[in-house]
């Protein structure tokens, strides 16, 4: 079974803090994604990566950056957290081979910025 893990289930941070969200997958998938999930808005793509050290902006990259130094790990960074970044953050991975593009999700990190 594909396993995608996220470093924290719940985080509470203060406005202006730098926040790191870590994601690790154990299936050697090329592609990794960060989404935020908000009620009524579904999943919105923040950034994705299709290879080590490669990253692409998604639909809402402002206020976020990412890092992918190793294939299995994809980090999301909030340089200066703001209250409007309070949300559920989901990490996902998918293979490129096979053409399925099915994504496998982690449990999510619920981030509260006060």
């Amino acid at each position: 079974d594909v396993k995608v893990t996220q470093s924290s289930r719940y985080l509470v941070k203060r406005t202006g803090e730098k926040v790191f969200l870590e994601c690790v997958q154990d299936m050697d998938h090329e592609n990794m994604f960060w989404y935020r999930q908000d009620p009524g808005l579904g999943l919105r793509l923040i950034y994705f990566s299709y290879d080590v050290k490669m990253k692409e902006k998604g639909d809402i990259p402002e206020g976020y950056s990412v890092s992918r130094e190793k294939k299995e790990r994809f980090s999301l960074i909030l340089e200066s957290a703001s209250t409007n970044q309070t949300s559920m953050y989901l990490c996902a991975s998918s293979p490129t081979s096979g053409g399925s593009y099915e994504q496998y999700f982690g449990p999510g990190t619920r981030l509260t910025v006060t």
Binding site: V4, F33, Y35, G40, L41, G42, L43, R44, L45, Y50, L90, A92, G99, S100, Y101, E102, Q103, Y104, F105, G106, P107, G108
Partner: protein, 115 residues
């Protein structure tokens, strides 16, 4: 711009009722289609997927979906829901394009099944 529209944000049904959740997308090229489900407190997980072939796709737990290309639709159905189907359901479209792909999710439909 590509988009995915789910017709209902909240659905409340009694057990044994039939379910149909609508999903429409806007993209004229080749697509892969998915329904994901998120049970309370659990990961988002794949319910079913369509790539090609038979447009009627069967997934886990008795769910099925029908791809109607002419209507750009991929509606999810279940003939008789159970209390354990209470969850949030997301339709997703993976648009294959030259040089890559992009997956777009709908806003989700929260289903509550009354026991």
């Amino acid at each position: 711009a590509q988009s995915v529209s789910q017709h209902n944000h909240h659905v409340i049904l009694s057990e044994a009722a039939s379910l149909e959740l609508g999903c429409n997308y806007s993209y004229g090229g080749t697509v892969n289609l998915f329904w994901y489900v998120q049970y309370p407190g659990q990961h988002l997980q794949l319910l079913l997927k369509y790539f090609s072939g038979d447009p009627l796709v069967k997934g886990i737990k008795g769910f099925e979906a029908e791809f109607i290309k002419s209507k750009f639709s991929f509606n999810l159905r279940k003939p008789s829901v159970q209390w354990s189907d209470t969850a949030e359901y997301f339709c997703a479209v993976n648009a294959r394009r030259t040089g890559g792909f992009k997956t777009i999710f709908g806003a989700g439909t929260r289903l509550f099944v009354k026991a």
